[in-house]
């Protein structure tokens, strides 16, 4: 009876609940911390921009500094691997279209795999 009272006490239940939540969160992190950042780049009309340079900037305590750059494929897609930060900025640049918006990307944990829901968009249109 005593151990049943102990198990049913709010202290044990609260500790167990916290332990389960922390365990579940760490499990989720372990499954999703590949450091992938991917997305698309489109022009003002929504058409994919191939060959644009995409720059990944990461937060460096009080400022953001460039970490990687890559080029978009024929479908306007880009992909970065090996990100280990939690606060990023992504922007694209193209000789024909100039610079895109600077997109802030906040992650819930370091190296979280993320796919940008909205594509990076240039103001101008491809000819």
């Amino acid at each position: 009876m005593r151990w049943k009272d102990f198990i049913g006490s709010r202290w044990v239940i609260a500790a167990l609940a916290i332990g389960i939540a922390v365990g579940a969160w760490n499990g989720y992190i372990a499954l999703n911390d590949g450091g992938l950042v991917e997305g698309r780049v489109v022009d003002g009309g929504g058409r994919p921009v191939p060959g644009a340079t995409v720059i990944l900037l990461e937060r460096n305590f009080v400022m953001h500094s460039e970490r990687q750059r890559t080029r978009t494929d024929a479908a306007g897609r880009f992909r970065f691997a090996g990100n280990d930060n939690h606060s990023l900025r992504v922007e694209a640049e193209s000789e024909a279209l100039g610079r895109s918006e600077l997109r802030e990307v906040r992650l819930w944990f370091r190296a979280q795999n993320v796919s940008l829901a909205e594509p990076l968009r240039f103001a101008g249109r491809l000819p």
């Binding site: 609260a14 305590f61 009080v62 606060s87 906040r106 992650l107 944990f109």
Partner: protein, 270 residues
């Protein structure tokens, strides 16, 4: 008529509680936004709330390390307080020659602020070789006079016949404390746990002078360090404050019933 008066009293108390909770609400609101706290007119409801300030705090400074240090020190303090204060409280609940002088000495010691004794405390800790250690961080809070008196009051409320019966049954003095008095003093234990935890958790000056390296720092020191690094990030700073406060508030909410009972035990006779 009486019912209406009761309703007015309740409404007044609720309004007063809301007023007292307003600073807490403001801290949480600022932590989940990046709003300037000096903005005028102030916005009552959070605008575009998010939790990323908490993520920043977790990663921009070694928050998990500070948290671990604070937890270890607080657990040491809580465990030592319950053990030592119970023993001291039991001794003071007995009659012995010079008891009045001991009580007077303890009460008068409470009048001396810690800042006045911090240099001798530091020298003793250094002589014991406890500088920059968890035990050194916990050292001045291992027993607190207020909590000794809480145990004393609680033990005095236990009928003497119960202790006499235990002694007749052959229980040693320390087993009387552990087996008879402690189970009957849950409120005093909860009060000790909460007060010791909060005092240890919030301690700033002692950890500041006793630690030698950042890896041994506790959360309040981390907060000061964070403030010096990121003085313009109000949201992250308030998020840090919420993360420092949360364990104390959680512990208090969990044990508030026993805490209230513990503070008022011994307040009335009979």
């Amino acid at each position: 008529m009486r019912r209406r008066k009761g309703l007015f009293t309740q409404a007044g108390l609720i309004a007063l509680s809301a007023l007292m909770l307003l600073p807490f609400y403001w801290v949480i609101k600022t932590a989940i936004t990046n709003e300037n706290i000096y903005a005028y007119p102030p916005r009552l409801l959070p605008h575009h709330p998010h939790l990323f300030n908490f993520v920043d705090v977790w990663y921009l400074i070694p928050f998990p390390r500070y948290l671990l240090n604070s937890l270890i020190v607080s657990l040491l303090v809580v465990g030592a307080n319950v053990a030592f204060n119970a023993m001291a409280g039991y001794a003071l609940s007995k009659e012995f020659p010079g008891k009045g002088a001991v009580l007077g000495l303890l009460l008068s010691s409470m009048l001396v602020p810690f800042q006045a004794t911090i240099i001798p405390a530091y020298l003793i800790t250094a002589k014991l070789g406890l500088i920059n250690s968890y035990l050194g961080l916990a050292f001045p809070l291992l027993s607190t006079i207020v909590c000794i008196f809480i145990f004393k009051a609680s033990f005095e409320a236990v009928p003497h016949s119960l202790i006499d019966a235990a002694r007749v049954d052959g229980l040693a003095e320390w087993r009387i404390i552990v087996r008879i008095l402690m189970p009957l003093s849950k409120a005093a234990i909860a009060t000790n746990v909460i007060l010791a935890f909060i005092w240890s958790w919030n301690a700033f000056l002692w950890p500041l002078i006793i630690t030698r390296e950042p890896a041994m720092q506790t959360l309040p020191l981390g907060l000061a360090r964070f403030l010096s690094y990121l003085e313009d990030t109000t949201g992250a700073l308030y998020a840090f404050a919420v993360m420092v406060l949360a364990p104390s508030i959680f512990l208090f909410l969990m044990a508030q019933k026993e805490f209230m009972a513990g503070l008022s035990s011994g307040a009335t006779k009979g």
